[in-house]
């Protein structure tokens, strides 16, 4: 891949499939940027945003975001959100933050601020700030799936929560959800194809998201894949897609198991916590009936209480940071399996049509119609898109789980450290008293 003059990546947006070469396609032709991209290369860009020079930015949050992204350029392992690892600078930055509660007569809901900074010409302005609610994210995801069916669209956090069980407006719930929405949007923005989707553009820029207007933006790809005729039976699935399917099945099963184990761990921790609290209380009660031993016993009660607090933090982290990511991946896998199924359908259609056309050719020399060739292209494009996205997904997943596990390790270490510190200070207290007693004895 050539480095140097930054350009946007080829979009499968409004072009015919046949005219665009996928960046990772088997053909060894060099990347030929589409016409719109050439224009962007010539146009004056906002200085500093693309070649790593930091720029004055009003809000400090976005400065750090930019800096962190820019610093990671050229380091393929460091940031899994850089899909090609070539150090190609990104030109679209999105953030989800600032949750706010809205109360109307009909309903109460939360909106989030979605901030965008970009140099792309598809956007009229370099900066945007809009407010969106979960429904809007859901709409975006559906639109992306519909219009880019050959790609893996990142998952959203769970839509439905049991009203009695979870407080939808609690800080924890909103915070967890917001983090997941931010992750979702960032992944979409980093995707070489999805980030150019006009629905995303609308989502990021429109003051009022008119969701009904979605249909008009349906892409050609979307149409063609949507209109895949059913009823064809797939002959031979390529090995790599079989492997993908098997992997996804096994993986989702394992994730389910791990989710259940994690929930059992949480339940056990909760029971343990209850007993531990009572344990500490008894030491306090005991202290009340002692004289010399009062302070040591209260010290022990204090240590136990500290441990309880630390354990509570640990459990909260497990349920707020760890489990949601697991569940997100389970949802992700479902949507990925759907894409695989669609791919199968597309291939099946092609095989079916080809077979029919070949038979006709044998009969009456009718040449293979163009539609059949188009089908073939469809299949090849789908396969290529999917393979690229699969690689991306694997990288992201590895990164996510590494982060998850490292985070879990950190939280556990923190729990033990807090507990240890409490007990160590108690020993100092107890041993001080001992030496006090010894000296008073000898005196």
């Amino acid at each position: 891949m050539s480095v140097g003059a930054p350009r946007g990546l080829a979009s499968s947006g409004q072009k015919l499939i046949t005219e665009i070469l996928h960046p990772l396609s088997a053909a060894e032709e060099p990347l030929s940027p589409g016409p719109d991209v050439t224009i962007s290369a010539e146009k004056d860009k906002e200085p500093g945003l693309t070649n790593g020079t930091p720029v004055e930015i009003s809000s400090p949050a976005s400065a750090s975001v930019l800096l962190s992204r820019l610093q990671l350029d050229g380091d393929p392992e460091a940031d899994a959100h850089d899909p090609f690892g070539s150090g190609e600078p990104r030109d679209l930055f999105v953030t989800v933050d600032d949750p706010k509660k809205h109360v109307s007569t009909m309903e109460t809901y939360i909106t989030y601020r979605v901030s965008t900074k970009t140099t792309r010409i598809e956007f009229d302005l370099p900066e945007y700030s809009v407010r969106r609610r979960y429904q809007d994210f859901d709409w975006l995801r559906i639109k992306l799936e519909d219009s880019q069916p050959t790609h893996l669209v990142p998952p959203l956090p769970e839509k439905f929560v049991m009203k009695g069980v979870v407080d939808r407006f609690s800080e924890e719930f909103v915070g967890t959800r917001m983090k997941a929405l931010d992750k979702f949007l960032k992944r979409v923005a980093d995707h070489p194809v999805l980030s150019f989707n006009p629905h995303l553009n609308a989502f990021l820029t429109a003051k009022d998201l008119n969701k009904r207007q979605g249909l008009a933006l349906l892409t050609k790809v979307g149409e063609s894949v949507k209109n895949v005729a059913g009823g064809y039976k797939l002959r031979a699935r390529p090995v790599e897609f079989c492997a993908m399917g098997e992997y996804l099945d096994t993986f989702s099963q394992k994730l389910g198991t791990i989710d259940r184990i994690a929930q059992r761990i949480l339940r056990e921790q909760s029971e343990y916590l209850t007993e531990l609290r009572e344990y500490g209380t008894v030491y306090s009660t005991w202290a009340g009936s002692e004289e010399q031993l009062q302070r040591p016993l209260e010290g022990v009660a204090g240590c136990v209480t500290t441990s309880c607090g630390a354990l509570e933090d640990l459990s909260d982290n497990m349920s707020q940071d760890f489990l949601p990511v697991l569940r997100e991946y389970i949802l992700y896998i479902e949507s990925m399996k759907n894409v695989l199924r669609k791919r199968d359908q597309v291939q099946a259609e092609y095989e079916g049509r080809l077979e029919a056309a070949v038979l006709r050719k044998q009969e009456d020399r009718t040449p293979i119609p163009v539609e059949v060739e188009k089908c073939q292209d469809k299949v090849e494009c789908f396969n290529a898109d999917l393979k690229a996205d699969w690689e991306r997904w694997q990288r992201n997943k590895r990164q996510d789980f590494k982060q998850l596990l490292t985070g879990m390790a950190d939280k556990n270490i923190s729990y033990y450290e807090k507990s240890q510190a409490a007990w160590e200070s108690l020993i100092t207290l107890l041993q001080e008293k001992q030496t006090e007693d010894k000296t008073s004895e000898t005196n």
Binding site: E275, W286, S289, R398, L405, L426, I427
Partner: protein, 422 residues
């Protein structure tokens, strides 16, 4: 507390007394004591049935004795079973009612959390009992009063020590004391108990409650705390992930190591539990002393009451007034006065009775004072011992917790390194 480092190869040291305070007695100065081993025996019991029971080996040896070659001198040994220790304790309870006699380890295993059945022949139980019995003997040996008891000395050294005490006498005494105590607690209330004893009784009840609660909760919480789920967690994960597999395999391995090391620490925690249990059983001994005080106090009050009644009777007879209602008084009013002679003989009998009563009261008073003085002496000693022992126990407990935390940190740090290599 008192512990001796005993090895199976006979290589042991003298009892370590509680830090700083010298509780070395004449007995300990001249002798090392340990309960070195346990063994099984089978024999016929009192109803002529075969039973299997455990015996414990008591080893004694002159203090700091070394043979010519420099190796420790072989100890004197004898085997005793638990019931024999019980008998010794009963003897001590009866002979020294004002002493808080150290308790025996529990008869049956309670507060178990890691075993479903509390089997007296279970090797872990037997081992803990062995340690408990040794502790019992060392407590006796370091007690300023009990260590001088000859029967105790004979228990350690003479297999047939019982022949030196009248067993029947002991049982009778105990039964008598026991039944009097029972009737006391059931029916009578002491009017003027020593307030210190009342306070002590309440304290020991509180302590008993609190320690029981701790032991119970500990048993429950340890069940939850010893979770193997995390190991399961990591091994499930590593099973599928090729790339992540290696990292997680090692993490799972670290979790296993952690689980194993926690077992060791929980074993140490058992020792803490044993220390608490000893004091739980001590509270019974304390309450027993308080009850004996109440009994003596009651007898004293009864004696005083009896004397005062007799004096009043005499006064009435002499002055002819009837202030105290009595059947004799009523009948004499109804059926005529008694003769001068009759009255004089009654007065004389009463005077004798009063003298006897005064002697009895003096005796009871002296008994009571002696009891209170001796008891309170031992109670002060016990308080100091308790405070030192429990503080040490708490320190050990804290050290244990720190050790667990350190292991936890190490395990998770190692795991984190594995994750970082993913």
């Amino acid at each position: 507390g008192l512990r001796s480092a005993v090895g199976k190869n006979g290589n042991y040291a003298a009892a370590e007394t509680t830090a700083g305070h010298s509780t070395s007695t004449a007995l300990l100065k001249k002798m090392e004591i340990s309960v070195a081993e346990a063994d099984k025996r089978t024999g016929k019991n009192t109803v002529n049935m075969q039973e299997t029971y455990t015996v414990y080996l008591i080893e004694t040896r002159p203090a700091e004795s070394v043979s010519e070659e420099g190796t420790p001198v072989a100890p004197d040994t004898l085997w005793r079973r638990y019931s024999e220790f019980e008998l010794l304790r009963t003897y001590l309870l009866v002979t020294y009612p004002y002493i808080i006699v150290p308790p025996l380890p529990e008869k049956r295993a309670e507060f178990v959390w890691h075993k479903l059945s509390a089997d007296n022949l279970d090797p872990d139980f037997v081992e803990r009992r062995r340690v408990g019995l040794e502790n019992f003997l060392l407590r006796l040996a370091s007690h300023p009063v009990l260590s001088n008891d000859n029967i105790f000395f004979l228990f350690l050294t003479e297999i047939f020590y019982l022949s030196y005490i009248n067993r029947k006498k002991i049982f009778l005494l105990f039964q008598k004391a026991d039944s009097r105590l029972k009737s006391l607690s059931a029916m009578f209330r002491v009017k003027n108990p020593d307030k210190r004893f009342t306070a002590l009784k309440h304290y020991s009840e509180d302590l008993s409650t609190v320690i029981s609660q701790l032991l119970r909760i500990r048993a429950v919480k340890n069940r939850w705390g010893k979770s193997v789920l995390k190991t399961l967690f990591f091994s499930e994960w590593s099973a599928i992930e090729k790339e992540m597999g290696d990292g997680l395999q090692s993490a799972g391995h670290h979790m296993d190591t952690y689980a194993a090391s926690i077992d060791d620490i929980l074993e140490e925690e058992e020792h803490y539990a044993d220390q608490l249990k000893e004091y739980l059983f001590y509270t019974e001994a304390v309450r027993s002393v308080c009850r004996k005080h109440e009994l003596i106090q009651y007898e004293l009050e009864m004696a005083a009451q009896d004397l005062s009644y007799k004096k009043q009777q005499k006064e009435e007879l002499e002055t002819g007034t009837v202030r105290i209602f009595s059947l004799k008084g009523m009948t004499s009013k109804l059926f005529g006065q008694e003769t001068q002679e009759q009255r004089e003989s009654k007065v004389s009998a009463l005077e004798q009775s009063i003298q006897e009563g005064e002697d009895a009261l003096k005796e009871k008073n002296a008994e009571s004072q002696e009891f209170v003085e001796k008891a309170w002496n031992d109670i002060e000693r016990f308080k100091e011992q308790k405070e030192k022992d429990l503080r040490e126990a708490l320190i050990s407990y804290a050290i244990m917790q720190i050790s667990m935390c350190k292991k936890g940190i190490q395990v998770w740090s190692n795991a984190k390194e594995c994750f970082n290599k993913m």
